[in-house]
Assembly symmetry: C2
């Protein structure tokens, strides 16, 4: 029985094209799919380490470098890999050619260094594939309205791949990486973590944004919007039709798990402002200057005491902590709060699952499980398909393992 | 007294942009010229070693690589340097932006890997300079008729610089390298070699083509055709208005030297075909198959004996020797020659000078000088401004030194 013929995008990350041997292995893998009769478009990242070296060059010359020049410099990494991968494919007898962002063109907005994709012209790529060729697309890059190279920000090659898949109406976008799929939680912490065969876009978004860094969040959002089926799989294992995990529309998942996975993020810092006079507009007075200074605020809890004074606790990324404190010290006079406290020795644990929508009791199970282990919950936040808690960092492994068991996720 | 304001191209080779410190030094040098009020366009090579690494990657994947993919890969080196140099200039307060071949555009023919320039659109570069900006152009690259990156072949950045200088009607094209000018001969062999203040395009062509590898031959030919004044100077010495050597039109040289310089080339292999039946078309029967196989033939001498048999001796580049012999063995039946001999232990010594045109006796002085030292001349070839001889390689230094003295070139 032959595999049905499909049009697929195969995207290979930096570790998958880290050296010439790995590039040869990628070519073999693409040939395997090509020989099965699939139409294949390839998207490649820069060889592992190259982008960091280029970024280092730019920062060393000028920490406030012109992002348009930065883009010209760092985009060279994917350019090299796309040419080399095309050569490796040709060597195996597979017709192939490299495509740079400006050649496709893949058009972006003007936000150099972190550009957003505005459109991908699929015509040339479709013609290339129709002629039996494999286009090898340099990921991470496009052309801005100024006619200059624009890059999509770190991890942007995943987004390139999804955008290309949407433009050529691909049946699937395979993201090859150094892990073999998406797990119920981090297998380094929980030995009994299970690989998920299918996970919904929404769940993936929550899992990715809270620290399960297999797929870039932006690429998942785009895949959801464009309804591109994404498969995450390892480039270090032999080709196999059922490998990896599929990220798909909710409708494609028959048996919805109540809880799909447990994620954690160590990149949190907690800031508490105590004894704030409780008056209208006080939250805006605090969060507007933070936003203006580029500080992203995540979890927020507010509590008002009997004395009419309010306490506000929230979390920011660890990299933003110093800036946030500086901003808040600066507007102490305006807000006239009593005390400013910080704690970066915290971790955010999240329980994620589509089934939460229709199941009550997930939150209480979560809190009870943590309480039984003597773990104090400092902050809570919830979304439709996620409950997150902030706890002391020393409890990370214990909390993840206990919740994994409590929600029935352990492998048999 | 201020320097008159001019429009100049400053081109920096691989050793001049070898690392971030060298790129910073280049930026300082460009700023020096910019601050004098000159309009400056910069052309840069790849950082030393980068192009070789990229070529190595391609060859390792497939010795018969697709030259279009090779071009996409190797052109990345100049792309990186142009972006980094623009950042370094901006850091010094000099407005600058990088320009890639396809952005200018610098249009080439379709001969990927060794493309020829068909035209440079100077409009955008002129507008950039008129606005007070320094364009930093990635050398060595353009865009082919297929819309893909095309490179100009090794050393092509010199040619880029001259073509850009012609397109923007520059007053001068300064080629910065790791030597401080053009010498009467190789200073490593002759301590008394003198730096030439001025040398004509024609002389430079002859000097370059016979081994004084300061400027790429193609770039000199283009400069001559487009009447671009070229200055060769060192990027390792402090800026100085009179630095280096000027390569200019003959008319700009008042006092013409009879002999300008002595060049040598070790890249020669001598092939002799003996006892060839002397009939019409025999030279074509020999040289046509060589040309078809890409073998460039340089010096040729033919001598016919009393027996009606002809001997033919010629030189080829050392890299072509094996292929030349193979081709000649292959057509032995057609030509029915008696013997095929080779000798790669030879060197070509050339005496070059515009004044030869009007001076008799240069050849005889050359031959007598060599004969006095017991050096046997194996092959002779002449052009209007050059006399070349092939001699045993062991006599290289002796011949160059003796001729340098005999033609009055020694520094005082």
């Amino acid at each position: 029985m032959s595999t049905p013929r499909t049009r697929i995008v195969m995207k290979f990350g930096g570790t998958s094209v880290a050296d010439l041997d790995r590039i040869r292995a990628v070519a073999e893998r693409v040939k395997h799919a090509y020989d099965q009769g699939h139409q294949v478009a390839v998207v490649v990242s820069a060889m592992a380490g190259v982008t960091n070296r280029m970024v280092g060059y730019c920062e060393s010359l000028d920490p406030l470098f012109d992002p348009r020049e930065y883009d010209a410099v760092v985009a060279s990494g994917e350019q090299v890999t796309s040419g080399l991968t095309a050569i490796a494919l040709q060597k195996l007898g597979v017709p192939a050619r490299s495509w740079l962002g400006w050649q496709i063109p893949l058009r972006t907005d003007e936000a150099h260094g972190k550009a957003r994709i505005e459109g991908v012209n699929g015509a040339a790529l479709l013609a290339s594939m129709a002629s039996g060729e494999v286009p090898v697309i340099a990921g991470f890059q496009g052309i801005g309205p100024d006619g200059r190279i624009a890059t999509l920000g770190r991890g942007g090659s995943d987004t390139s791949a999804v955008a290309v898949a949407a433009a050529i109406n691909a049946d699937r976008c395979d993201i090859y990486t150094d892990v073999d799929g998406i797990y119920t939680t981090d297998p380094r912490i929980v030995k009994k973590a299970r690989k998920l065969e299918r996970v919904s876009f929404e769940e993936m978004l929550e899992l990715a944004s809270v620290g399960a860094k297999v797929l870039q969040t932006r690429s998942v959002g785009l895949a959801m919007k464009e309804k591109v089926r994404v498969r995450v799989l390892s480039s270090f294992e032999p080709p196999c039709d059922d490998a990896g995990s599929l990220v798909v529309d909710e409708d494609e998942i028959m048996e919805k798990q109540v809880v799909t996975g447990i994620a954690y993020s160590r990149d949190e810092a907690k800031i508490s402002i105590r004894r704030i006079p409780d008056r209208p507009g006080i939250a805006a007075a605090i969060f507007t200057p933070l936003a203006r200074n580029g500080v992203n605020v995540d979890m927020i809890v507010q509590s008002t005491g009997a004395d009419g004074m309010t306490n506000l606790t929230f979390t920011v990324g660890k990299a933003d902590e110093a800036r946030a404190l500086e901003v808040l010290e600066g507007c102490r006079a305006d807000i006239s709060y009593g005390e400013l406290a910080r704690d970066s020795d915290v971790v955010k644990i999240s329980v994620v699952g589509m089934g939460m929508r229709s199941h009550a009791g997930i939150a209480s199970t979560m809190f009870q499980t943590l309480a039984d282990r003597g773990i104090n919950v400092q902050v809570i936040s919830t979304s439709e398909i996620k409950i997150s808690v902030l706890i002391g960092a020393e409890y990370t492994e214990l909390a993840v393992r206990t919740l994994h068991t409590a929600f029935g996720l352990d492998a048999q």
